[in-house]
């Protein structure tokens, strides 16, 4: 037994309103740079829908994740070591940027500075790759709220595996949002596929990271990740991915996506697991057994044997305590309401989801039945095959039983707590029907519905006595051009080696006008010298930021 701690996340999908706040704040923190304009470490998908990048769940095409071969051993679906190095000159499974979307900005300057004309000025979309005018045809959430999904939803790989009538009916049946970040898997395919060994799983907290200095840009991680959550920075030629905001996590603070989540639907905490058990459990034959196999990797943080083994590994007491108080442990192992996303990829993902009951409740409510009555809800879960089957396609490799169990617990909680809130007698038969006690239901209600900050985030600090770099303002990702860079100056970006082509490194997304001398001339602002403060990194005073000085030293507008 090798006890490891894994910082994990759970998202309660019933609470997600699809506002994309998590995506936007994540983007502002991590990917508002050139080269990653198209990258969303956190994205929110409408389901059913094709996702981001398009159809990423179709592993027949993208060859992500692991596969069990005839001898019962795990193999990367994209091939073993020899095939990988043989195809290193052209990764056969790599999505091109159009599978995500071509990034663009608008010619905003036109709106205020267009010459007098009979027509209203328009801000035309400009490609951030070429600076040319472009037609916007796709984006990271083009099918948001099922928009245009009559045309695209048939491409949803999960719907495709379901029966024909589903495709016709689903629009009237259900819809929910699926926020996604990197899964920080226990058996990460991206790490296994990296030819340079530059990707690794952190021993302390299991966060999967890219060593930006070691990455040589072979792009095998991008294609091997079945969730397509490793991205290629096309300007620096290096892989980048969600870091689980580790500079924050190390200080005991939640990630940006969690902190800013309006619905408070994210939970962060530790799971203890046995690293030696992972490979065998990920190799079980039946895909439907993968959920239980992963649960079997997790260790009970209250078990004295586990505690002793954890201490032998050097785990500190506060970390063990945090594992015992972890909301993740409660939701996965005690209440068993959380489920992993696509366990069939065999990567043992560690961002789990509480499936949404809302599709079921919505149907009941529209038929004027009592959407908070346990018996009605139980019957509906049994009867509403379409959402349940779809959820099973997402969270349990198509096995409806775990999804039903989870939904029934949520339904029981809903119904049992209504009686309490209305001052009625407690109906203990409701928790009994789902194998829980009234006390457990109340505790689960407190965690899921009240969701206090300190209950949602139980994050032990990294040990300062052993860490050298925990100041928030100087995170260890602050390498030039790296994901956490504080914005290198033009001087550091233009050294003899570090020169990247195209736009300057310290630019933000909104900056095609800065593509000077690279075909960008035609798209230069109509008033050269004007400064867009959105692009200002805070360093230095660019030309045009202030009006020119007059001769006597006072400032004023030019004559």
């Amino acid at each position: 037994m090798r006890v490891m701690a894994q910082m994990s996340m759970i998202m309660n999908l019933d609470k997600c309103i699809g506002c994309h706040t998590c995506s936007v704040t994540c983007k502002q923190v991590w990917t508002n740079r050139t080269g990653v304009e198209y990258v969303w470490f956190n994205n929110v998908e409408t389901k059913p829908g094709v996702g981001y990048p398009r159809r990423y769940e179709d592993q027949e095409k993208w060859k992500g994740g692991w596969q069990r071969n005839k001898r019962g051993r795990l193999k990367l679906r994209s091939g073993g070591r020899i095939k990988r190095l043989a195809t290193i000159f052209n990764n056969p499974d790599l999505p091109v940027i159009d599978d995500y979307y071509e990034p663009w900005t608008y010619d905003y300057d036109m709106l205020t500075k267009a010459p007098l004309s009979t027509e209203s000025p328009v801000a035309r979309p400009k490609s951030l790759l070429t600076g040319q005018n472009m037609d916007i045809k796709w984006s990271g959430n083009w099918d948001d709220d099922l928009g245009g999904s009559q045309e695209t939803a048939a491409d949803d790989p999960i719907l495709a595996t379901m029966s024909e009538h589903v495709k016709m009916e689903f629009e009237n049946t259900f819809m929910f949002y699926l926020p996604r970040i990197c899964e920080h898997c226990l058996n990460p395919a991206c790490v296994a596929a990296c030819p340079s060994g530059a990707m690794y799983k952190r021993e302390e907290d299991g966060i999967v990271l890219v060593d930006e200095d070691g990455c040589r840009g072979w792009r095998m991680c991008v294609s091997a990740c079945p969730y397509k959550k490793v991205y290629f920075n096309h300007k620096t030629g290096k892989a980048e991915k969600c870091t689980l905001c580790y500079p924050l996590i190390e200080q005991g603070k939640p990630t940006i996506c969690s902190e800013t989540c309006v619905g408070r639907l994210r939970y962060l905490g530790l799971m203890l697991y046995d690293a030696d058990a992972v490979l065998a459990q990920a190799s079980v034959e039946n895909e439907h057994d993968l959920l239980d196999a992963q649960r079997a990797c997790f260790l009970d943080p209250f078990d004295p044997e586990v505690i002793a083994a954890a201490k032998a590994e050097g785990m500190e007491d506060d970390w063990i305590l945090a594992a015992q108080n972890s909301p993740i442990y409660k939701l996965i192992s005690e209440y068993k309401v959380a489920l992993p996303l696509h366990p069939e990829y065999r990567t043992m993902p560690m961002v789990w989801y509480i499936p949404p009951l809302s599709p079921v409740v919505d149907v009941i409510s529209t038929t004027n039945n009592d959407g908070e009555d346990a018996r009605t809800l139980f019957a509906a879960i049994d009867k509403l095959r379409i959402p349940v089957e779809y959820l099973a396609g997402l969270f349990s490799a198509g096995d409806v039983v775990p999804v039903e169990d989870s939904l029934r617990k949520l339904a029981a909680m809903r119904s049992y707590m209504r009686d309490i809130n209305l001052g009625r007698d407690r109906d203990e038969s409701i928790p009994e029907a789902v194998g829980m006690t009234g006390t457990e239901i109340e505790a689960m209600y407190r965690l899921l519905a009240i969701a206090k900050y300190e209950d949602r985030y139980v994050i032990p600090k990294a040990h300062v006595e052993t860490a050298r770099e925990l100041e928030e303002l100087a995170c260890s990702l602050d390498t030039d051009g790296g994901p956490g860079m504080g914005g290198p100056t033009a001087a550091t970006a233009a050294g003899p080696y570090g020169k990247t082509p195209g736009m300057p490194l310290n630019a933000t997304v909104d900056n095609y006008n800065q593509m000077v001398g690279k075909g960008g001339e035609r798209t230069k602002p109509t008033t050269p010298g004007r400064v867009n403060l959105l692009n200002w990194t805070g360093g230095g005073v660019p030309d045009g930021m202030f009006p020119p000085r007059t001769i006597d030293g006072a400032t004023g507008s030019p004559a």
Partner: protein, 257 residues
Amino acid sequence: MNPLDILLWVAFPYAAAGVFIVGHLLRYRFDQFGWTSRSSQTYENKWLRWGSPLFHYGILMVFGGHIVGLFIPKPWLEFFGVTEHIYHLGATWLGSIAAVLTIAGLVILLVRRRLVARVKLVTTVMDKVMYLFLTGTIAFGTTATVLYQVLGAGYDYRGSISPWIRSLYGFQPDPALMSDVPFFFQLHVLCATSLFLLWPFTRLVHVFSAPLGYFVRPYIVYRSRDGHRGTGAVKARRGWEKSELPRGTRDKEGSRR
């Protein structure tokens, strides 16, 4: 031995070798972040799918051929039964296949770089200089082979160019060996030497990160945030290496605000 011969066939190669070695060492030390193949596959894949493997497999064959032709002395090969005739057949046939693959790939890559707007825009000046010398080297080498080996009577470069190169490695340079070498071979050698001179400053450095370690390392890599964790009771296993802090962090320490 005139001064020009010494300049071209002694001074220049040694200067290029010096820049090549020192340049790579310095760049490896100070520019890990810039050390990448800087792939453009995400921009465009339809042309690259053909061009890149053709070029790379071709150029690897070319490299192998040059090792055999330049670094293994003639008598050694003859000792193993490779006569002049067999060597010539092999060099001509395998060399031709390699040349066709390389040139076809290079043409596809160059056309793509010029015509695909996304790729063209990210091409740096250094890329262009590198492409010029790379194309020149391949073009002169092919021209020399076609002119002298295929159409002509055949030129035994293993009696002149090869010993000259080995004389450089032995620090007993003999520029006289090169003075009577046919013109296009001379051009090929000079162009290649210039390319070696430029090498550490271009994206060609990715050649030295050929990830051969992938064959032997464990699939899942674990690294520790700092080296002090653990009681030492459990011995670290293969694949559980300790990581170093990114170098950039330490370098920046002095300038931290």
